[in-house]
Symmetry: C2
Subunit: 107 residues, 2 copies
């Protein structure tokens, strides 16, 4: 996965709707629209074991409950926090969402 520019999510959402309208009206082309689309995604980055634990503790849940929210096993959370394994693709997306918008946003 490559880079992705950072935008404030709420502002981005609003602007995005406007852009969608412009696209449908034929004001901006497909290419611009797609690249714009990408730039609106929540920035995704790697997480250190400590960051994962801090994130979970911020949300005040046990490894088991945290795992349920991510739809993975509790063992995996333990492995992430101990640095035995590192979360990948879709898991990083979910962690980024939690970091930005809180655990409730993916409930």
């Amino acid at each position: 996965m490559k880079k992705s520019k950072a935008y404030r999510s709420e502002a981005a959402a609003a602007i995005h709707e406007t852009a969608t309208g412009l696209f449908e009206a034929g004001v901006i082309d497909k290419r611009t629209m797609r690249e714009f689309d990408d730039s609106c995604l929540t920035p995704i980055h790697e997480f250190t074991p400590g960051e994962i634990r801090a994130l979970r503790e911020r949300e005040q849940v046990s490894q088991t409950v945290f795992a349920h929210h991510l739809n993975i096993s509790k063992d995996s959370i333990s492995q992430w926090e101990r640095g035995e394994k590192r979360p990948a693709g879709p898991s990083l997306k979910l962690l980024s969402l939690i970091e930005r918008k809180g655990l409730a946003s993916i409930a």
Copy 2:
């Protein structure tokens, strides 16, 4: 992953906050709280290749763009839709979120 009861997400969110308050006030115990927590999660189910494609087309995006949103490769989306591989744990969670709340909800 086990079962999970279905609740309307908005109503559930409100009720959940109330329950959290009750827990903090000591009215309900930890166990009840945790089980309640689980029941509030968006129900997760398997997706057939056709359902995945239908979901993507409902959101009007190409495989590439869809992949970016899920933070996976475009090849994986293609494989899902052709039934060559099946989305697992965290991927299913994201698909379920999109199905319930739309692609924008995980932007």
